[in-house]
Protein backbone atom coordinates (compact mmCIF):
# COMPACT_ATOMS: atom_id res chain seq x y z
CA UNK A 1 0.00 0.00 0.00
CA UNK A 2 1.40 3.36 -1.01
CA UNK A 3 -0.97 5.67 0.84
CA UNK A 4 -2.95 4.64 3.88
CA UNK A 5 -5.05 6.25 6.53
CA UNK A 6 -5.80 4.39 9.74
CA UNK A 7 -8.67 5.50 11.96
CA UNK A 8 -8.08 9.06 10.81
CA UNK A 9 -10.28 11.54 12.67
CA UNK A 10 -10.96 15.21 12.94
CA UNK A 11 -13.62 17.02 14.97
CA UNK A 12 -14.83 20.57 14.70
CA UNK A 13 -16.49 21.72 17.88
CA UNK A 14 -18.23 18.43 18.52
CA UNK A 15 -18.97 17.56 14.91
CA UNK A 16 -17.05 14.55 13.55
CA UNK A 17 -15.98 15.89 10.18
CA UNK A 18 -13.86 12.81 9.61
CA UNK A 19 -14.68 9.82 11.78
CA UNK A 20 -12.15 6.99 12.06
CA UNK A 21 -11.61 6.55 8.34
CA UNK A 22 -9.46 3.71 7.02
CA UNK A 23 -8.24 3.93 3.48
CA UNK A 24 -5.66 2.00 1.56
CA UNK A 25 -4.48 3.09 -1.87
CA UNK A 26 -2.13 0.80 -3.76
CA UNK A 27 0.69 2.12 -5.88
CA UNK A 28 -0.32 2.86 -9.45
CA UNK A 29 -3.99 2.72 -8.60
CA UNK A 30 -6.70 5.19 -9.49
CA UNK A 31 -8.73 5.53 -6.30
CA UNK A 32 -11.99 7.41 -6.15
CA UNK A 33 -13.55 9.15 -3.16
CA UNK A 34 -17.17 10.14 -3.39
CA UNK A 35 -19.96 11.12 -1.05
CA UNK A 36 -22.70 13.71 -0.64
CA UNK A 37 -21.86 17.35 0.05
CA UNK A 38 -20.45 17.83 3.50
CA UNK A 39 -19.45 14.19 3.80
CA UNK A 40 -15.92 15.15 4.81
CA UNK A 41 -14.06 14.36 1.58
CA UNK A 42 -12.14 17.62 1.40
CA UNK A 43 -11.50 17.56 5.14
CA UNK A 44 -10.02 14.10 4.73
CA UNK A 45 -7.78 15.34 1.95
CA UNK A 46 -6.73 18.31 4.06
CA UNK A 47 -5.75 15.89 6.80
CA UNK A 48 -3.72 13.77 4.41
CA UNK A 49 -1.99 16.75 2.80
CA UNK A 50 -1.04 18.21 6.15
CA UNK A 51 -3.16 21.34 5.93
CA UNK A 52 -5.30 20.27 8.84
CA UNK A 53 -4.22 18.62 12.05
CA UNK A 54 -5.69 15.22 12.82
CA UNK A 55 -7.34 14.62 16.17
CA UNK A 56 -6.69 10.92 15.96
CA UNK A 57 -5.45 8.14 13.72
CA UNK A 58 -2.58 8.22 11.29
CA UNK A 59 -1.53 8.70 7.70
CA UNK A 60 1.12 6.47 6.17
CA UNK A 61 3.09 6.92 3.00
CA UNK A 62 4.92 3.83 1.81
CA UNK A 63 4.70 2.40 5.30
CA UNK A 64 6.15 5.48 7.04
CA UNK A 65 3.97 7.53 9.37
CA UNK A 66 3.58 11.04 8.02
CA UNK A 67 0.62 12.26 10.05
CA UNK A 68 2.22 15.25 11.70
CA UNK A 69 4.24 16.48 8.75
CA UNK A 70 3.70 19.95 7.32
CA UNK A 71 2.32 20.25 3.78
CA UNK A 72 5.65 21.14 2.23
CA UNK A 73 7.34 18.13 3.76
CA UNK A 74 4.68 15.87 2.30
CA UNK A 75 5.21 17.35 -1.13
CA UNK A 76 8.89 16.60 -0.87
CA UNK A 77 7.96 13.02 -0.07
CA UNK A 78 5.78 12.79 -3.11
CA UNK A 79 2.22 13.80 -2.30
CA UNK A 80 0.84 16.54 -4.53
CA UNK A 81 -2.68 17.91 -4.65
CA UNK A 82 -5.05 20.30 -6.31
CA UNK A 83 -7.65 22.29 -4.44
CA UNK A 84 -11.39 22.42 -4.56
CA UNK A 85 -12.10 25.73 -6.28
CA UNK A 86 -8.58 26.16 -7.65
CA UNK A 87 -5.83 27.93 -5.74
CA UNK A 88 -3.48 29.34 -8.31
CA UNK A 89 -0.93 32.08 -7.95
CA UNK A 90 -3.09 34.51 -9.86
CA UNK A 91 -0.58 37.34 -10.08
CA UNK A 92 2.15 35.09 -11.49
CA UNK A 93 2.37 33.91 -15.05
CA UNK A 94 1.12 30.51 -16.11
CA UNK A 95 4.71 29.42 -16.62
CA UNK A 96 5.84 30.65 -13.20
CA UNK A 97 2.97 28.80 -11.57
CA UNK A 98 4.29 25.53 -12.91
CA UNK A 99 7.86 26.47 -12.07
CA UNK A 100 6.87 27.10 -8.47
CA UNK A 101 5.34 23.65 -8.49
CA UNK A 102 8.82 22.31 -9.07
CA UNK A 103 10.11 23.92 -5.87
CA UNK A 104 10.40 20.67 -3.96
CA UNK A 105 12.85 19.26 -6.49
CA UNK A 106 15.10 22.29 -6.81
CA UNK A 107 18.26 23.19 -4.97
CA UNK A 108 18.83 26.75 -3.82
CA UNK A 109 20.20 28.96 -6.54
CA UNK A 110 20.65 32.24 -4.67
CA UNK A 111 24.41 32.27 -4.92
CA UNK A 112 24.36 31.18 -8.54
CA UNK A 113 21.93 33.95 -9.37
CA UNK A 114 24.25 36.65 -8.11
CA UNK A 115 26.30 36.32 -11.29
CA UNK A 116 24.14 36.87 -14.33
CA UNK A 117 24.62 34.16 -16.88
CA UNK A 118 23.78 33.85 -20.52
CA UNK A 119 23.00 30.16 -20.67
CA UNK A 120 19.33 29.41 -20.65
CA UNK A 121 19.49 25.64 -21.08
CA UNK A 122 17.65 24.88 -17.90
CA UNK A 123 16.19 21.38 -17.58
CA UNK A 124 13.65 22.55 -15.04
CA UNK A 125 12.29 25.27 -17.27
CA UNK A 126 12.08 22.79 -20.12
CA UNK A 127 10.25 20.34 -17.93
CA UNK A 128 7.80 23.07 -16.94
CA UNK A 129 7.15 23.87 -20.59
CA UNK A 130 6.67 20.20 -21.26
CA UNK A 131 3.99 20.00 -18.61
CA UNK A 132 2.21 23.01 -20.05
CA UNK A 133 2.34 21.37 -23.43
CA UNK A 134 0.83 18.27 -21.93
CA UNK A 135 -2.19 20.05 -20.50
CA UNK A 136 -2.55 22.18 -23.60
CA UNK A 137 -1.51 25.51 -22.12
CA UNK A 138 1.84 26.06 -23.81
CA UNK A 139 0.57 28.98 -25.87
CA UNK A 140 -0.64 30.77 -22.72
CA UNK A 141 2.63 30.40 -20.84
CA UNK A 142 3.15 34.14 -20.55
CA UNK A 143 -0.35 35.04 -19.48
CA UNK A 144 -1.22 35.79 -15.88
CA UNK A 145 -2.81 32.80 -14.23
CA UNK A 146 -5.70 34.95 -13.09
CA UNK A 147 -6.62 35.71 -16.71
CA UNK A 148 -7.30 32.11 -17.67
CA UNK A 149 -10.72 30.63 -18.17
CA UNK A 150 -11.85 28.39 -15.37
CA UNK A 151 -11.26 25.13 -17.21
CA UNK A 152 -7.74 26.26 -18.16
CA UNK A 153 -7.06 27.21 -14.56
CA UNK A 154 -7.92 23.71 -13.46
CA UNK A 155 -5.58 22.22 -16.00
CA UNK A 156 -2.85 24.61 -14.91
CA UNK A 157 -3.30 23.49 -11.34
CA UNK A 158 -2.80 19.90 -12.40
CA UNK A 159 0.32 20.81 -14.37
CA UNK A 160 1.64 22.61 -11.31
CA UNK A 161 0.98 19.60 -9.12
CA UNK A 162 2.76 17.33 -11.60
CA UNK A 163 5.83 19.56 -11.60
CA UNK A 164 6.88 18.17 -8.24
CA UNK A 165 7.06 14.66 -9.73
CA UNK A 166 4.61 13.23 -7.23
CA UNK A 167 4.08 9.57 -6.46
CA UNK A 168 0.54 10.32 -5.34
CA UNK A 169 -1.59 12.98 -6.99
CA UNK A 170 -4.72 14.00 -5.13
CA UNK A 171 -7.30 15.78 -7.23
CA UNK A 172 -10.08 17.61 -5.37
CA UNK A 173 -13.05 17.96 -7.68
CA UNK A 174 -11.02 18.71 -10.81
CA UNK A 175 -13.99 18.39 -13.12
CA UNK A 176 -16.26 20.85 -11.32
CA UNK A 177 -17.61 23.34 -13.82
CA UNK A 178 -16.20 21.48 -16.82
CA UNK A 179 -18.28 20.63 -19.85
CA UNK A 180 -18.38 17.02 -21.12
CA UNK A 181 -15.60 17.42 -23.66
CA UNK A 182 -13.31 18.99 -21.05
CA UNK A 183 -14.01 16.27 -18.52
CA UNK A 184 -13.41 13.73 -21.25
CA UNK A 185 -9.95 15.20 -21.82
CA UNK A 186 -9.41 15.14 -18.08
CA UNK A 187 -10.28 11.47 -17.98
CA UNK A 188 -7.72 10.76 -20.69
CA UNK A 189 -5.07 12.73 -18.87
CA UNK A 190 -5.71 10.79 -15.68
CA UNK A 191 -5.56 7.48 -17.53
CA UNK A 192 -2.23 8.48 -19.06
CA UNK A 193 -0.85 9.46 -15.67
CA UNK A 194 -1.88 6.16 -14.12
CA UNK A 195 -0.26 4.39 -17.03
CA UNK A 196 2.96 6.20 -16.16
CA UNK A 197 2.79 4.85 -12.64
CA UNK A 198 1.40 7.84 -10.78
CA UNK A 199 -1.12 6.94 -8.12
CA UNK A 200 -4.23 9.08 -8.29
CA UNK A 201 -6.79 9.84 -5.61
CA UNK A 202 -9.81 11.46 -7.17
CA UNK A 203 -12.55 13.27 -5.32
CA UNK A 204 -15.46 14.01 -7.54
CA UNK A 205 -19.14 14.73 -7.68
CA UNK A 206 -19.23 13.64 -11.30
CA UNK A 207 -19.91 10.04 -10.35
CA UNK A 208 -19.66 8.97 -13.99
CA UNK A 209 -16.11 10.29 -14.20
CA UNK A 210 -15.11 8.48 -11.02
CA UNK A 211 -16.68 5.20 -12.03
CA UNK A 212 -15.11 5.40 -15.46
CA UNK A 213 -11.61 6.22 -14.25
CA UNK A 214 -11.09 4.52 -10.94
CA UNK A 215 -10.43 0.90 -10.14
CA UNK A 216 -11.46 1.30 -6.57
CA UNK A 217 -13.91 3.69 -4.92
CA UNK A 218 -14.62 4.64 -1.30
CA UNK A 219 -17.77 6.42 -0.19
CA UNK A 220 -17.95 8.83 2.74
CA UNK A 221 -21.02 10.10 4.52
CA UNK A 222 -21.08 12.23 7.68
CA UNK A 223 -17.37 11.64 8.04
CA UNK A 224 -17.56 7.86 8.02
CA UNK A 225 -16.63 5.45 5.30
CA UNK A 226 -19.82 3.65 4.38
CA UNK A 227 -18.67 1.61 1.43
CA UNK A 228 -15.58 0.61 -0.48
CA UNK A 229 -14.91 -1.59 -3.46
CA UNK A 230 -14.93 -1.68 -7.22
CA UNK A 231 -17.17 0.84 -9.00
CA UNK A 232 -19.75 -1.86 -9.64
CA UNK A 233 -19.83 -2.97 -6.04
CA UNK A 234 -20.23 0.56 -4.78
CA UNK A 235 -22.93 1.34 -7.28
CA UNK A 236 -24.89 -1.66 -6.05
CA UNK A 237 -24.51 -0.84 -2.38
CA UNK A 238 -27.73 -0.01 -0.59
CA UNK A 239 -25.91 2.08 1.97
CA UNK A 240 -24.57 4.30 -0.81
CA UNK A 241 -27.96 4.74 -2.40
CA UNK A 242 -29.42 5.69 0.93
CA UNK A 243 -26.71 8.22 1.56
CA UNK A 244 -27.28 9.98 -1.74
CA UNK A 245 -31.02 9.68 -2.02
CA UNK A 246 -32.20 9.34 1.54
CA UNK A 247 -33.80 6.27 3.05
CA UNK A 248 -36.53 4.90 0.82
CA UNK A 249 -39.94 4.72 2.38
CA UNK A 250 -41.18 1.27 2.93
CA UNK A 251 -44.66 1.27 1.66
Amino acid sequence: MLLETRQLSRTFGGVHAVDRVDLAVAAGQAFGLIGPNGAGKTTLINLISGHLRADGGSVLLDGATVTRLAPHALTVRGIARTFQGVRLFKGLTVFDNVLVGRHARLRSDVVRRLVPRRSRADPDRERAMGLLERVGLRRRAGALAGELAYGDQRRLEIARALASEPRVLILDEPAAGMNPSESGRLRELMRALVAEGITIVLIEHDVGLVMGTCERVAVLNFGRKIAEGSPAEVRASAAVREAYLGAEDVA
Partner: protein
Amino acid sequence: MDAIADFLATYSTTFAIVGINALLALSVWLTLYAGQLTLGNAAFMAIGAYTSALLGRHLGAPFPLALAAGAVAAAALAAPLGLTVFRLRGVYLAIATLAFGEVVRVILLATPITGRGQGLNGIPPKTELWHIYLSLAVVAYVLWRVQGSIAGRAWAAIREDEVAAASQGIAVRRYKLAAFVLGALLAAWAGGLSAHVTFSIDPNDFAFTKAVQILVFAVVGGIPNVLGPVLGATVFTALPELLRPFKDYRDIFQGAILLAVIIYLPRGIVTLAELRKTRRLAEIGAADVA
Protein backbone atom coordinates in the same frame (compact mmCIF):
# COMPACT_ATOMS: atom_id res chain seq x y z
CA MET B 1 32.27 69.23 -13.01
CA ASP B 2 32.54 71.94 -10.36
CA ALA B 3 28.87 72.69 -10.64
CA ILE B 4 28.07 69.06 -9.91
CA ALA B 5 30.44 69.01 -6.96
CA ASP B 6 28.82 72.15 -5.59
CA PHE B 7 25.37 70.75 -6.10
CA LEU B 8 26.31 67.57 -4.27
CA ALA B 9 27.88 69.48 -1.40
CA THR B 10 24.84 71.69 -0.85
CA TYR B 11 22.37 68.88 -0.93
CA SER B 12 24.60 66.18 0.50
CA THR B 13 22.45 65.66 3.57
CA THR B 14 19.37 65.33 1.42
CA PHE B 15 21.09 62.81 -0.83
CA ALA B 16 22.22 60.92 2.24
CA ILE B 17 18.72 60.78 3.64
CA VAL B 18 17.31 59.73 0.28
CA GLY B 19 19.78 56.85 0.13
CA ILE B 20 19.06 55.78 3.68
CA ASN B 21 15.33 55.96 3.15
CA ALA B 22 15.74 53.87 0.01
CA LEU B 23 17.53 51.22 2.07
CA LEU B 24 14.76 51.35 4.67
CA ALA B 25 12.13 51.09 1.98
CA LEU B 26 13.86 48.02 0.55
CA SER B 27 13.92 46.47 4.01
CA VAL B 28 10.15 46.69 4.23
CA TRP B 29 9.71 45.79 0.56
CA LEU B 30 11.33 42.44 1.17
CA THR B 31 8.73 41.38 3.72
CA LEU B 32 5.87 42.90 1.71
CA TYR B 33 7.07 40.92 -1.29
CA ALA B 34 6.46 37.79 0.75
CA GLY B 35 3.03 39.15 1.65
CA GLN B 36 3.81 40.09 5.24
CA LEU B 37 3.16 43.41 6.91
CA THR B 38 5.85 44.40 9.38
CA LEU B 39 5.70 47.63 11.33
CA GLY B 40 8.88 47.00 13.25
CA ASN B 41 11.53 48.27 10.87
CA ALA B 42 11.71 51.66 12.56
CA ALA B 43 12.53 49.81 15.78
CA PHE B 44 15.16 47.70 14.03
CA MET B 45 16.55 50.91 12.58
CA ALA B 46 16.74 52.30 16.11
CA ILE B 47 18.58 49.20 17.29
CA GLY B 48 21.09 49.60 14.51
CA ALA B 49 21.51 53.30 15.20
CA TYR B 50 21.96 53.04 18.93
CA THR B 51 24.11 49.92 18.87
CA SER B 52 26.55 51.29 16.34
CA ALA B 53 26.70 54.71 18.00
CA LEU B 54 27.23 53.26 21.48
CA LEU B 55 29.83 50.75 20.32
CA GLY B 56 31.70 53.52 18.59
CA ARG B 57 31.55 55.82 21.56
CA HIS B 58 32.25 53.43 24.43
CA LEU B 59 34.36 50.74 22.81
CA GLY B 60 35.92 52.67 19.99
CA ALA B 61 34.70 50.09 17.52
CA PRO B 62 35.64 50.71 13.91
CA PHE B 63 32.78 51.94 11.79
CA PRO B 64 32.02 48.89 9.62
CA LEU B 65 32.19 46.63 12.65
CA ALA B 66 29.83 48.85 14.60
CA LEU B 67 27.36 48.83 11.71
CA ALA B 68 27.57 45.06 11.43
CA ALA B 69 27.06 44.65 15.16
CA GLY B 70 23.92 46.76 14.96
CA ALA B 71 22.61 44.62 12.14
CA VAL B 72 23.32 41.41 14.02
CA ALA B 73 21.63 42.76 17.15
CA ALA B 74 18.50 43.53 15.16
CA ALA B 75 18.53 40.10 13.55
CA ALA B 76 18.95 38.49 16.95
CA LEU B 77 15.75 40.16 18.12
CA ALA B 78 13.88 39.62 14.88
CA ALA B 79 14.45 35.87 14.86
CA PRO B 80 12.58 34.91 18.06
CA LEU B 81 9.86 37.42 17.26
CA GLY B 82 9.41 35.89 13.84
CA LEU B 83 9.55 32.33 15.11
CA THR B 84 6.77 33.08 17.55
CA VAL B 85 4.55 34.94 15.16
CA PHE B 86 4.87 33.11 11.86
CA ARG B 87 3.14 30.08 13.32
CA LEU B 88 0.05 32.23 13.37
CA ARG B 89 -2.04 34.25 10.97
CA GLY B 90 -0.61 37.27 9.18
CA VAL B 91 -2.40 39.80 11.35
CA TYR B 92 -0.29 38.72 14.32
CA LEU B 93 2.89 39.96 12.67
CA ALA B 94 1.46 43.45 12.35
CA ILE B 95 0.38 43.37 15.98
CA ALA B 96 3.64 41.97 17.30
CA THR B 97 5.87 44.34 15.34
CA LEU B 98 3.78 47.37 16.23
CA ALA B 99 3.96 46.38 19.88
CA PHE B 100 7.68 45.66 19.52
CA GLY B 101 8.21 49.13 18.08
CA GLU B 102 6.46 50.80 20.98
CA VAL B 103 8.38 48.79 23.55
CA VAL B 104 11.76 49.51 21.97
CA ARG B 105 10.92 53.19 22.06
CA VAL B 106 9.88 52.98 25.69
CA ILE B 107 12.99 51.04 26.70
CA LEU B 108 15.19 53.56 24.93
CA LEU B 109 13.45 56.34 26.82
CA ALA B 110 14.04 54.60 30.11
CA THR B 111 17.61 53.35 29.80
CA PRO B 112 20.35 55.69 31.03
CA ILE B 113 23.04 54.54 28.62
CA THR B 114 20.95 55.57 25.65
CA GLY B 115 20.57 59.05 27.03
CA ARG B 116 16.88 58.52 27.71
CA GLY B 117 14.74 61.26 26.25
CA GLN B 118 17.66 63.42 25.18
CA GLY B 119 19.05 60.61 23.10
CA LEU B 120 22.65 60.52 21.96
CA ASN B 121 24.45 63.61 20.76
CA GLY B 122 27.74 64.25 19.13
CA ILE B 123 27.87 61.09 17.09
CA PRO B 124 30.88 61.40 14.81
CA PRO B 125 29.90 62.00 11.16
CA LYS B 126 31.54 58.89 9.81
CA THR B 127 29.10 58.14 7.08
CA GLU B 128 30.06 59.22 3.60
CA LEU B 129 27.69 59.40 0.68
CA TRP B 130 29.52 56.59 -1.02
CA HIS B 131 28.91 54.29 1.97
CA ILE B 132 25.23 54.80 1.60
CA TYR B 133 25.06 54.48 -2.15
CA LEU B 134 27.39 51.53 -2.30
CA SER B 135 25.21 49.76 0.27
CA LEU B 136 22.13 50.70 -1.71
CA ALA B 137 23.62 49.49 -4.98
CA VAL B 138 24.70 46.18 -3.52
CA VAL B 139 21.42 45.59 -1.73
CA ALA B 140 19.32 46.56 -4.73
CA TYR B 141 21.36 44.36 -7.03
CA VAL B 142 21.21 41.35 -4.72
CA LEU B 143 17.48 41.75 -4.14
CA TRP B 144 16.89 42.11 -7.86
CA ARG B 145 18.79 38.90 -8.59
CA VAL B 146 17.12 37.06 -5.73
CA GLN B 147 13.71 38.10 -7.00
CA GLY B 148 14.23 35.91 -10.06
CA SER B 149 15.59 33.02 -8.04
CA ILE B 150 13.85 30.04 -6.53
CA ALA B 151 13.60 31.87 -3.22
CA GLY B 152 12.14 34.91 -4.93
CA ARG B 153 9.48 32.82 -6.61
CA ALA B 154 8.76 31.10 -3.32
CA TRP B 155 8.17 34.46 -1.65
CA ALA B 156 5.91 35.54 -4.50
CA ALA B 157 3.98 32.31 -4.19
CA ILE B 158 3.56 32.81 -0.45
CA ARG B 159 2.30 36.30 -1.12
CA GLU B 160 -0.24 35.05 -3.63
CA ASP B 161 -1.54 32.07 -1.72
CA GLU B 162 0.16 30.64 1.34
CA VAL B 163 -1.88 27.50 1.47
CA ALA B 164 -1.15 26.59 -2.14
CA ALA B 165 2.50 27.57 -1.69
CA ALA B 166 2.88 25.06 1.12
CA SER B 167 1.63 22.35 -1.18
CA GLN B 168 4.34 23.14 -3.69
CA GLY B 169 6.98 22.12 -1.21
CA ILE B 170 7.68 25.63 0.07
CA ALA B 171 8.54 25.75 3.77
CA VAL B 172 6.36 28.80 4.26
CA ARG B 173 7.36 29.70 7.79
CA ARG B 174 11.05 29.48 7.04
CA TYR B 175 10.75 31.76 4.04
CA LYS B 176 8.69 34.32 5.91
CA LEU B 177 11.22 34.29 8.72
CA ALA B 178 14.06 34.77 6.27
CA ALA B 179 12.39 37.78 4.66
CA PHE B 180 11.61 39.25 8.05
CA VAL B 181 15.09 38.80 9.53
CA LEU B 182 16.82 40.04 6.38
CA GLY B 183 14.55 43.07 6.47
CA ALA B 184 15.55 43.71 10.06
CA LEU B 185 19.22 43.44 9.12
CA LEU B 186 18.80 45.96 6.35
CA ALA B 187 16.84 48.39 8.48
CA ALA B 188 19.47 48.22 11.22
CA TRP B 189 22.30 48.77 8.75
CA ALA B 190 20.47 51.82 7.44
CA GLY B 191 19.95 52.94 11.02
CA GLY B 192 23.65 52.74 11.74
CA LEU B 193 24.46 54.74 8.64
CA SER B 194 21.79 57.26 9.53
CA ALA B 195 23.07 57.84 13.06
CA HIS B 196 26.46 58.83 11.72
CA VAL B 197 24.98 61.33 9.32
CA THR B 198 22.55 63.14 11.58
CA PHE B 199 25.01 63.40 14.54
CA SER B 200 22.26 62.88 17.09
CA ILE B 201 19.46 60.43 17.62
CA ASP B 202 16.61 60.20 20.08
CA PRO B 203 13.88 57.64 20.59
CA ASN B 204 11.19 59.69 18.92
CA ASP B 205 13.03 59.53 15.59
CA PHE B 206 12.10 55.87 15.44
CA ALA B 207 8.51 55.95 16.54
CA PHE B 208 5.30 54.76 14.97
CA THR B 209 5.29 57.60 12.44
CA LYS B 210 8.64 56.49 11.09
CA ALA B 211 7.45 52.93 10.70
CA VAL B 212 4.46 54.05 8.69
CA GLN B 213 6.57 56.38 6.56
CA ILE B 214 8.86 53.55 5.57
CA LEU B 215 5.78 51.62 4.62
CA VAL B 216 4.62 54.53 2.51
CA PHE B 217 7.90 54.53 0.54
CA ALA B 218 7.58 50.86 -0.28
CA VAL B 219 3.87 50.59 -0.92
CA VAL B 220 3.49 53.78 -2.89
CA GLY B 221 6.65 53.13 -4.87
CA GLY B 222 5.47 49.68 -5.70
CA ILE B 223 5.95 46.01 -5.03
CA PRO B 224 6.67 44.35 -8.38
CA ASN B 225 10.39 45.20 -8.42
CA VAL B 226 13.18 46.81 -6.42
CA LEU B 227 12.81 50.05 -8.30
CA GLY B 228 9.50 50.71 -6.58
CA PRO B 229 10.71 51.30 -3.01
CA VAL B 230 13.73 53.24 -4.24
CA LEU B 231 11.46 55.45 -6.30
CA GLY B 232 9.03 55.85 -3.42
CA ALA B 233 11.79 56.82 -1.02
CA THR B 234 13.26 59.31 -3.46
CA VAL B 235 9.96 60.99 -4.23
CA PHE B 236 8.84 61.23 -0.63
CA THR B 237 12.17 62.42 0.69
CA ALA B 238 12.96 64.88 -2.07
CA LEU B 239 9.50 66.36 -2.37
CA PRO B 240 9.26 67.76 1.16
CA GLU B 241 12.65 69.36 0.60
CA LEU B 242 11.40 71.04 -2.52
CA LEU B 243 8.10 72.01 -0.97
CA ARG B 244 9.52 73.50 2.21
CA PRO B 245 6.52 75.68 3.05
CA PHE B 246 4.39 72.55 3.16
CA LYS B 247 6.78 70.55 5.28
CA ASP B 248 4.41 70.55 8.22
CA TYR B 249 1.79 68.83 6.14
CA ARG B 250 4.10 66.07 4.97
CA ASP B 251 2.51 63.36 7.09
CA ILE B 252 -0.93 64.34 5.93
CA PHE B 253 0.07 64.15 2.28
CA GLN B 254 1.82 60.85 2.83
CA GLY B 255 -1.20 59.42 4.60
CA ALA B 256 -3.56 60.60 1.88
CA ILE B 257 -1.35 59.29 -0.92
CA LEU B 258 -0.86 55.94 0.80
CA LEU B 259 -4.61 55.64 1.20
CA ALA B 260 -5.22 56.49 -2.45
CA VAL B 261 -2.56 54.09 -3.64
CA ILE B 262 -3.63 51.14 -1.53
CA ILE B 263 -7.20 51.52 -2.73
CA TYR B 264 -6.72 52.33 -6.38
CA LEU B 265 -3.21 51.25 -7.31
CA PRO B 266 -2.21 48.66 -4.74
CA ARG B 267 0.91 47.53 -6.50
CA GLY B 268 2.29 51.02 -6.48
CA ILE B 269 3.44 53.71 -8.85
CA VAL B 270 5.80 51.49 -10.81
CA THR B 271 2.78 49.69 -12.14
CA LEU B 272 1.85 52.85 -14.01
CA ALA B 273 4.46 51.83 -16.53
CA GLU B 274 2.69 48.52 -16.91
CA LEU B 275 -0.52 50.44 -17.24
CA ARG B 276 0.63 52.17 -20.37
CA LYS B 277 1.59 48.86 -21.85
CA THR B 278 -1.53 46.95 -21.02
CA ARG B 279 -4.18 49.56 -20.20
CA ARG B 280 -5.74 47.19 -17.75
CA LEU B 281 -5.91 49.07 -14.48
CA ALA B 282 -8.38 46.74 -12.84
CA GLU B 283 -6.12 43.80 -13.47
CA ILE B 284 -3.05 45.44 -12.07
CA GLY B 285 -5.08 46.70 -9.18
CA ALA B 286 -6.54 43.30 -8.58
CA ALA B 287 -3.22 41.47 -8.41
CA ASP B 288 -2.74 42.85 -4.97
CA VAL B 289 0.03 43.72 -2.61
CA ALA B 290 -0.54 40.52 -0.69
